[in-house]
Symmetry: C2
Subunit: 451 residues, 2 copies
């Protein structure tokens, strides 16, 4: 119950039009949202006025279309969009406090690039960069990188663990005060404060040093979303923030307890990792208004597209041949998204949904917890999850953008602030400070006392 | 002499402190220039007020330090700095007209990443992105990418040619008007306007399509700097802009004539490629003032660092053991920088310079043409090169930043404008338009008439 004295962490998961599949058809949502800087500028400045901890950009290395039937593919509204790290570099200039989380794949990037891009973003933003580590499981990504298929799940995670190790060594190439700029001697850095990684491992050989100084946050924040066994292991070892997909409180509590336990096992303070489940909130001034907003989105939802999204969430299994009014079929669990598959099937069974109904149910939330109602309703739910140890905070998935965010900022944030559950001003100079996480001491300066 | 009706293209080559090795010791040059966004913002907004075509960022995938003796390494002022593509993404938000050129290596990146990053930058900047294509020849780069050494010169160029082909195919994944956003049918794009690359070649297999729409410029501008045989071949096939290193007018004319001839051979209009040699200008209100500025820089130049830079320019041959007052040694020409080696040795022979004197001579210019004097002197030299077909424009290497750029903007630009050699306002909406280069028609729309 140590949480009670603390406050919620809140992130905004940005999907260009919003998270509901029919969001692009709504008024005030630009069609070309994914490639319109002014649209993103509007979103992040609204999020910063609401004092959110960070904005988050997911990513994949392709259009994730290979298994879609043409009829669904040509109705998919988020095929093209900015690359996240470049977009956040631009958005850094419009903001001063909010954290900037970009996704990058350990399977299709090299550690030197990733270390460098996020170190650069950390300097551009004055200490607000975060890297969401993914190992990639989308359809059609491998084929964009001269490969036939993704490496197997375990191999991807083994590579990811070494990748993270290399990236952190690169960030630690220079101690914080390595550069001294002595005009008399002409010496610009202290040689004893350069620590060349010279990493040689199973997957990578990286000499270094990095050509960026130690980042303002020491290490940019590490975010992860994996809920599988190796995913939890990787998170326990390396993550500062974990996104989770939990439709119910009980699911959230079970995961929270398991992961925090693994942190203790790994010798880490359980408070050093923030668990932030996704939440899909639809807020109105009354419950009827919230229901009306959601109903309007559901009415313009294309069933073909809804089924296709469900297929993609189930690791690319094509569901278009199954009866829409039948049960969720008994699919063979593929290796990448077993957690998601389990969550979705349980949701369908619990609520007696047929295939189409399940697809419609998750057309906005993609399996994340949904809550509809007034600001008090939504704050109640968040408070419950927070106090019952299912969440240290939430990653918000507004149905539409900017509208769904504006509603949340205008109605829910003040309610959370009244309850003392959320900040009224940023207190830290960096994302790390605002999250209440300590800055990693450079390894050369760590005392070798008790772990 | 078709050039006479046209105007010069002018780029600004940004090195954080300025191009002279002693620049960091000057007043008004921040020590941490390479990681200070406000410093770069000041530079690019000054360059845009001066109506320059673009700013240019070089790059390497390491600190280029391996062959340096420690005494030189610890005096090197440009070891750490922003990553160029993230930096330009931020700078795009402070500017409206000026082009943004970032360097990326075809040897250590994947085509999908490069196509995506530059397409994203092109959207962020409203059509101002350019990619400087390099194949990498720096010391210590391969070792950061799990390789022992760079591939051989010819292999790097073969990979580069295919890499460029793939990137252009990815940029052409979607026709310009592929996205239609029909709210009634729910269809968001016209399937007939999607052109999946499905590239299979010697070095790459890339299915595509790109997850960015066709860039505002069709293709971001392609810049190249290679002066070797394969470099000229690559430029003739693919470049929009070529940087060159020519200490003398005669060198510039020979290169200009050779490359423009190769363009004709390749079936391209010679006007479709801009040749822009580097120029290191030191400008004063009088010649004495210019000489004084340069002398002041040279006085604070550290000989150890000057010799080390010369070593790096000569492909990493360590010169620190040779007598400083002896001749430039007869080094075996290594495969990557034969052109640079030839230029430097000819400079030393022509002007009777010993090893230290050559190192000092190029402490700012690194072998590029140097010119000291008043605005009229510098404009005279640029006009001569332009009219005598050694240059379509220049890439400026100011000795210090922002000071050297401010001098050029205040003194030389108005002189060039008075002579009708340079624009007084931007006329185009994109970098491509400002350079006077036509927008590539999508391959699906090209007529199959005479080449």
């Amino acid at each position: 119950m140590a949480n009670k004295a603390k406050q919620l962490a809140l992130g905004l998961f940005i999907r260009a039009h919003g998270h509901h599949l029919a969001a692009w058809k709504q008024p005030n949502v630009p069609n070309e949202a994914g490639l319109t800087l002014a649209h993103y500028r509007n979103i992040v400045t609204t999020a910063e006025r609401a004092k959110l901890d960070f904005v988050f950009l997911a990513d994949s290395m392709g259009v994730r279309a290979s298994v879609q039937p043409d009829a669904a593919f040509e109705r998919t509204p988020h095929l093209t969009h900015f690359e996240p790290i470049t977009l956040l570099s631009a958005l850094a200039t419009f903001t001063q406090h909010i954290g900037l989380v970009a996704t990058a794949s350990t399977t299709y990037y090299e550690p030197f690039h990733v270390a460098r891009l996020f170190a650069s973003l950390d300097y551009l933003s004055g200490g607000r960069a975060a890297w969401n580590v993914v190992t990639s499981n989308g359809v059609g990504e491998a084929e964009n990188f001269s490969a036939q298929a993704h490496p197997k799940h375990d191999a991807r995670y083994a590579r990811a663990i070494e990748f993270l190790d290399v990236v952190k060594k690169l960030w630690d190439s220079w101690e914080d005060d390595a550069f001294t700029w002595n005009e008399n001697s002409g010496v610009v850095f202290d040689k004893s404060k350069l620590h060349q990684p010279n990493h040689v491992g199973e997957h990578f050989s990286v000499a270094g040093p990095l050509n960026v100084s130690r980042p303002p946050q020491g290490h940019p924040i590490i975010v992860q979303a994996g809920g599988s066994g190796p995913g939890i292991e990787l998170a326990a070892l390396t993550a500062d923030v974990v996104f989770a997909v939990h439709p119910t409180l009980a699911d959230g509590q079970a995961f929270y307890s398991k992961l925090k336990g693994r942190l203790s096992d790994a010798g880490r303070d359980p408070a050093s990792l923030k668990i932030m489940p996704g939440i899909f909130p639809v807020v109105g001034r009354s419950r009827a208004e919230a229901d009306e907003k959601y109903a309007q989105l559901q009415e313009s939802l294309d069933p073909v597209l809804a089924i296709s999204q469900l297929s993609n969430l189930l690791d690319g299994v094509d569901l278009s041949g199954y009866p829409l009014d039948g049960p969720v079929p008994d699919l063979p669990g593929t290796n990448a998204s077993v957690t998601r598959l389990k969550v979705l099937r349980e949701t369908a069974e619990r609520d007696g949904l047929n295939l189409l109904q399940l697809a419609q149910r998750i057309a906005g939330s993609r399996g994340h917890h949904q809550v509809f109602g007034t600001a008090a309703d939504i704050a109640d739910r968040m408070e419950e999850w927070f106090h019952k140890e299912a969440a240290d905070g939430f990653n918000l998935l507004p149905a539409t953008l900017p509208g769904g965010l504006e509603d949340f900022a205008e109605l829910v944030v003040p309610e959370l602030q009244r309850r003392g559950l959320f900040r009224t001003e940023y207190s830290g100079a960096s994302l790390r400070e605002n999250l209440g996480l300590s800055r990693p001491v450079h390894p050369a300066l760590r005392t070798s006392s008790a772990a």
